[in-house]
């Protein structure tokens, strides 16, 4: 790294980045579908947010993800277990509801929804990126498509590295909230549904 930091720091950063990339590719496209499963069981949106975030906390604690065969199935099962524990603690759900959640088994064969999840997510992200504010979008493109470093972008545009970092921050926030909206689309549709 340019400022001469140790190899340990670089390794830490790289591990963090690789994990984030694994999540983006293997888990995030399936989030809407996973969330919908909880919505169907009448779990409140903010509770689902917490379950998902807690599940990601579990993922962070993993030493390695190499042993995980199907990332989204794994993630889904963490979310279900967390929900079961929460319900037991709160003692409000009927016993059979909890056992249904605990005993749920993924079929193992990808459903049609699972198969298209990645392509669908790609299309949605692309639309999201097209809607970024102009300046931010150009910088995100130079970073992500052209593969330029933040410093190279700063040189090319004649602005400071701090200014580029700021636009990356704007981009990260926008992508995050854009994705949240995509995540919740099935929920918005399902709000009118009666108890299943």
């Amino acid at each position: 790294m340019e400022d001469g930091t140790g190899p340990d720091l670089r390794a830490t950063l790289e591990r963090r980045r690789a994990l984030a990339q694994w999540v983006a590719r293997e888990i995030m496209p399936h989030e809407p579908r996973i969330r919908a499963w909880f919505v169907k069981r009448r779990i409140a949106h903010d509770v689902i947010d917490e379950l998902v975030q807690d599940a990601y906390c579990r993922v962070v604690m993993l030493e390695t993800v190499d042993h995980i065969e199907c990332a989204h199935a794994y993630f889904f099962s963490i979310c279900r277990n967390l929900l079961a524990r929460r319900l037991k603690r709160q003692q409000i759900a009927p016993f059979d509801a909890i056992s249904e959640i605990e005993s749920y088994r993924d079929t193992g064969t990808p459903t049609p929804e699972e198969q298209v999840a990645t392509r669908l997510a790609s299309e949605r992200v692309r639309a999201l990126l097209a809607d970024l504010p102009e300046r931010c979008r150009r910088i995100v493109e130079l970073r992500k498509i052209e593969g330029w470093s933040q410093r190279e972008i700063a040189d090319h545009l004649g602005i400071t590295e701090k200014a580029v970092e700021k636009q990356v921050w704007v981009g990260v926030r926008a992508i995050r909230s854009g994705w949240d909206a995509i995540d919740r689309e099935p929920e918005a549709a399902g709000d009118n549904r009666r108890v299943v």
Partner: protein, 320 residues
């Protein structure tokens, strides 16, 4: 700053290439304050990784061996079957996230791009432009730098290059547009180009082959052949050359500096006005500087790797 905003801040900072031990320590402190933050950080960083998975372009740029030495189309993550075989003759790359095709070149990079309509665009060093071809119109926005256009004839769709308020319109011609500080310069190599400024669309200037025009917001300055530099010399960059004819050292240095990271600096204003001729490779400023020594009384200082300093040589220098 909210947790979400702070998480985004950490991600942007890790992405900058300037992450230090101090930053890592500060991050650990922030994470320790609330167990949920670990998950939040992962989600946020993963969001930043999402664009990586949508990088595949819709179509592939025809690989041009001559100038495209870096194989940028490979770096864009063009994958699998799309690459080698099935490349159509004239295809536009949708490289950006926007709905138009966008092109950016770095300092020293010259790229030749065929467009969907059969036109060919050669983009000069340090440029940025957007291409929007629709059934009714062909529009290019030049945001920075310079590009030369060999426009395919299409009477149904005028080809219009816009740079700021300036417009240059062609039906079937070859011309270049360059954004300069003092205005937009249009050079025509073939055919006829109509130019005007948005500010007063009724005043139009017709530029024909061999002529150049400089369009500012409120003025149109027209040079005919014979004034300053003839058009093909000015476009020698398309062949990787700089063609000088009676050009001052100052102007020549400016040209080289457009294409190279290593900048030519003229330390003595007195020699900046010296004139000379020659055809030079634009990516070889050192070669240019060496040639100078033969014909002009100059000394060259190359001790700083980022510059080539040219100054008037003294008696002592010329004995070396």
């Amino acid at each position: 700053m909210s947790d979400r905003d702070q998480a985004a801040d950490w991600v942007a900072r890790m992405d900058s290439g300037n992450w230090s031990e101090a930053d890592e320590a500060a991050l650990q402190t922030w994470l320790a304050a609330d167990p949920r933050r670990q998950g939040l950080l992962l989600q946020t960083q993963a969001a930043w990784m999402l664009p990586d998975s949508v990088r595949e372009p819709d179509v592939v740029e025809t690989p041009e061996p001559a100038n495209d030495t870096r194989g940028k189309w490979m770096r864009r993550g063009v994958l699998g079957g799309m690459v080698a075989a099935s490349v159509a003759a004239f295809v536009t790359v949708r490289t950006g996230f926007s709905r138009d095709a966008e092109f950016v070149t770095r300092v020293g990079e010259i790229r030749r791009v065929p467009l969907d309509d059969g036109s060919i665009m050669t983009i000069n060093s340090g440029s940025e432009l957007k291409v929007s071809l629709s059934p009714r119109a062909r529009e290019i926005q030049l945001l920075q730098g310079e590009a030369w256009f060999d426009v395919a004839k299409d009477a149904e769709r005028p080809f219009i290059v816009a740079s700021g308020p300036v417009r240059a319109k062609a039906v079937g011609t070859a011309f270049s547009v360059r954004k300069r500080d003092e205005g937009v310069e249009v050079l025509v190599t073939e055919g006829v180009v109509e130019t005007w400024s948005d500010q007063d669309a009724s005043r139009r200037l017709t530029v024909v082959a061999g002529e150049r025009a400089l369009i500012k917001e409120w003025a149109l300055v027209h040079y005919r052949e014979g004034d300053n530099t003839p058009v093909d010399r000015a476009l020698a960059w398309r062949n990787g050359m700089i063609d000088l004819n009676g050009t001052t050292l100052r102007e020549a240095a400016e040209e080289f500096n457009r294409y190279n990271q290593r900048q030519i600096v003229i330390s003595d204003p007195g020699i900046a006005g010296e004139q000379f001729d020659g055809l030079f490779k634009l990516d070889d400023p050192m070669g240019f500087a060496q040639t100078l020594k033969v014909t002009l009384p100059v000394a060259i200082d190359t001790s700083d790797p980022s510059t080539i300093r040219i100054s008037r040589s003294t008696e002592a220098d010329s004995q070396k």
